[in-house]
């Protein structure tokens, strides 16, 4: 049945590869290519500590996340967010940690419901957790299968994300090269939505959240 979803001619397409090779003689240039190899060396980052202990990784992650434009708060500081960001309504995704944060916000007076597109588009805050967080880049990784949706971290004005300390890895490679099964949609989020399209002046919240708030749990 997958044949019904293949369109155009694979054979004709692939026959085009190298079809132009005979007409243009190869003249070696002054900078010839190195021998081809499939291997991709690991990428090493100067801003992650050699010490890969939990405390050191967490500290490096917090620094990177703040540099990417996110803010990092503790659980105690959560209620204060409500006033700071004028939070009235919210939506929450399916992860346990997200549900925990949602109940804290509910106690602080925010009307938090489950994901529904119209609600999310109008909501002040979207609450998720993440399947990984990356110290080198300050990114959180949200998995559409685990979260149950894609737009909770996208449509509301503020994205509040629980970061389990145990989920912090050192580099993007530690996550991307791990061979973890992929959901239909996985996103590495590094700070708030941003643009520099008008006179290269950095502006946040052009399409996605204006603010990303992380809570290490």
């Amino acid at each position: 049945m997958s044949a019904e979803r293949e369109h155009g001619s694979r054979q004709r397409f692939l026959a085009g590869i190298g079809a132009g090779a005979s007409t243009l003689p190869l003249v070696p240039g002054p900078h010839p290519p190195p021998p081809p190899t499939p291997s991709a060396p690991p990428v090493r980052y100067k801003n992650v500590p050699a010490d890969r202990g939990a405390a050191a990784l967490t500290e490096a992650f917090v620094i990177s996340a703040i540099e990417a434009g996110a803010s990092v708060v503790t659980l105690d500081e959560l209620p204060a967010l409500v006033g700071m960001h004028s939070l009235v309504t919210g939506v929450v995704s399916a992860e346990t940690e997200a549900v925990t944060l949602a109940s804290i916000l509910r106690e602080a007076g925010v009307a938090v419901g489950h994901y529904e597109r119209a609600a999310a588009a109008a909501a002040d805050v979207g609450i998720t957790s993440c399947v990984a967080a990356i110290a080198a880049t300050g990114s959180v990784v949200v998995d559409s299968w685990v979260a149950g949706s894609r737009a909770v971290s996208l449509l509301p004005r503020v994205h509040l994300c629980a970061v389990p300390a145990a989920a912090i890895v050192a580099t993007p490679g530690d996550f991307l090269r791990s061979g973890r099964p992929l959901p239909s949609n996985l996103v590495l989020i590094s700070g708030p939505s941003r643009t520099g399209d008008i006179e290269q002046i950095l502006t946040t919240g052009v399409h996605g959240p204006t603010a990303v708030v992380l809570v290490i749990v």
Partner: protein, 465 residues
């Protein structure tokens, strides 16, 4: 529409003061940020070198890699379209839009769809197409083309953008602060996202091992386009592929740092098949259009390394020609050094002005582009190869004759000396001659150095040391 010839387009560009100051500001900022971003990696030049060898392997193994990618995409539930040219890609996308009865289409920035002119095809078929990247939306409203592959509206300032929003997007109360303009765009475009039936994006990478498409955006429009509409179509340049996630990791580490200096683009999305049962949102159909449009013919040629390009824009930012002229001078979709190479190779017939090969001449061959390229494409070598190709294909017979005569004369001592003597004797005529004919173009902005009263050989013979 830009003027027809490279000379005229360049003249328009260098006379535009907004373009000049915005462009310089942007490219300087990007270049500085790039150096800082790459400087955070251990041995960035080693990584660039490794990326070149790795891209060489992938393109060398192109057909099997594409087949694996397609098989995995199909297994994940996606549709795959093999589009050998722009017409096939456009027709496929138009037919999908017709079948689902799409009235509103949202797009995230995609150079590949610019290349095939998709928007015009969909608009002619009665679909409302909205570009959702802020810069791309601004120029769509203004009826222009991108002038930079990363910041398409770099040639416009806040006042011009406010003019466009008032005239074309219904902005009632004039606002000119970038934050206010951005907020206006958020509100206007959010409506489009929520009403859209079809989302169309490009793709930064296809990963064969898992049949995934990687899409990066800073604004989040790429996420909205791939999350909200019921159908998502991604247009993937056939060469923008890797085999493994190890390879993807290396390229992603280099891509954002080379483009804007960021550690990672704000949103790096990995799409693996359509929405699955139990997920509350996401497209029911995912289509991946694998686009050839002249690419496969480059494999095995001296231009094959151009296929390694990951479209970061770093070569634009460091190019002394691009910094002066901006993107529109190049006359087609891709500007800067990568555009000067890619345009004649991909678009010989589509490019306006009929002379994309002359783009290879619009280069100083300084090599800054290769120094900046994250996959070390030897752009200056490829520009030279294009010039050689143009010359051997008989594009410059007059020039050939002049150089032949020159080489003939200069290889005979008597003729060489006679020539020098004649030049010195007629030196008073030189400033006049320099203002005439072909020489005029060269001397219009330059002083001709004064010639001495005697030739070097004469001075040497008379014992002058």
């Amino acid at each position: 529409m830009p003027p027809d010839t490279l000379r005229d387009r360049t003249a328009v560009a260098v006379a535009d003061p907004v373009l000049k100051s915005n462009l310089r500001n942007a490219v300087d900022r990007f270049s500085t940020a790039r150096e800082r971003g790459l400087g955070e990696l251990v041995d960035p030049d080693g990584l660039r070198h490794a990326a070149r060898a790795m891209r060489g392997h992938i393109i060398g193994d192109w057909a099997p890699t594409l087949e694996r990618l397609a098989d995995k995409l199909l297994a994940n539930g996606a549709h795959v379209c093999w589009a050998t040219d722009a017409d096939e890609a456009n027709a496929y996308i138009r037919d999908v839009a017709r079948r689902i009865g799409a009235t509103s289409v949202v797009k995230s920035k995609s150079m590949a769809t610019e290349e095939i002119g998709l928007n015009d095809v969909l608009a002619a078929d009665g679909r409302k197409v909205t570009e959702t990247d802020l810069g791309e939306w601004i120029i769509q409203l203004a009826g222009e083309h991108p002038s930079h592959i990363i910041v398409p509206a770099v040639h416009r300032n806040r006042h011009q953008i406010a003019d466009t929003f008032q005239a074309e997007a219904g902005m009632v109360e004039r606002r000119t602060e970038p934050e206010e303009l951005t907020a206006f765009a958020r509100t206007a475009l959010r409506e489009r996202f929520l009403e859209a039936d079809l989302g169309i994006s490009g793709a930064n990478l296809g990963v064969a091992d898992t049949g995934s498409i990687v899409l990066v955006t800073n604004e989040g429009n790429g996420r909205l386009v791939t999350s909200l509409p019921k159908v998502h179509i991604a247009v993937l340049g056939a060469e923008r592929i890797v085999q493994t996630w190890d390879q993807a990791d290396l390229l992603l580490a280099l891509l954002a740092r080379s483009a804007t200096g960021q550690r990672l683009t704000t949103y790096t999305s990995v799409v693996t098949g359509p929405r699955r049962a139990g997920e509350a949102d996401g497209p029911d159909e995912l289509h991946v259009v694998i686009l050839d449009n002249g690419r496969t013919g480059l494999a095995g040629t001296e231009f094959a390394e151009m296929l390694n390009c990951i479209r970061c824009g770093a070569c634009l930012n460091v190019c002394p020609v691009y910094r002066q002229a901006g993107g529109h001078a190049y006359g087609w979709v891709y500007p800067g050094p990568m555009g000067a190479v890619l345009t004649p190779l991909l678009a010989a017939k589509e490019a306006e002005g009929g002379g994309p090969a002359e783009l290879a001449g619009a280069s100083t061959l300084c090599g800054a582009c290769m120094e900046a390229c994250p996959v070390e494409i030897p752009l200056q070598d490829l520009l030279l190869a294009l010039r050689r190709k143009k010359a051997t294909e008989g594009g410059a017979r007059g020039e050939h004759a002049i150089w032949r005569a020159w080489s003939e004369a200069w290889s005979r001592p008597a003729l060489y000396r006679a020539g020098n003597k004649a030049a010195v004797r007629m030196r008073r005529l030189a400033p006049v001659a320099a203002k005439l004919g072909l020489a005029k173009r060269w001397t219009a902005g330059r002083e001709l150095p004064a010639l001495g009263e005697r030739t070097f050989t004469e001075r040497w013979a008379s014992g002058e040391r």
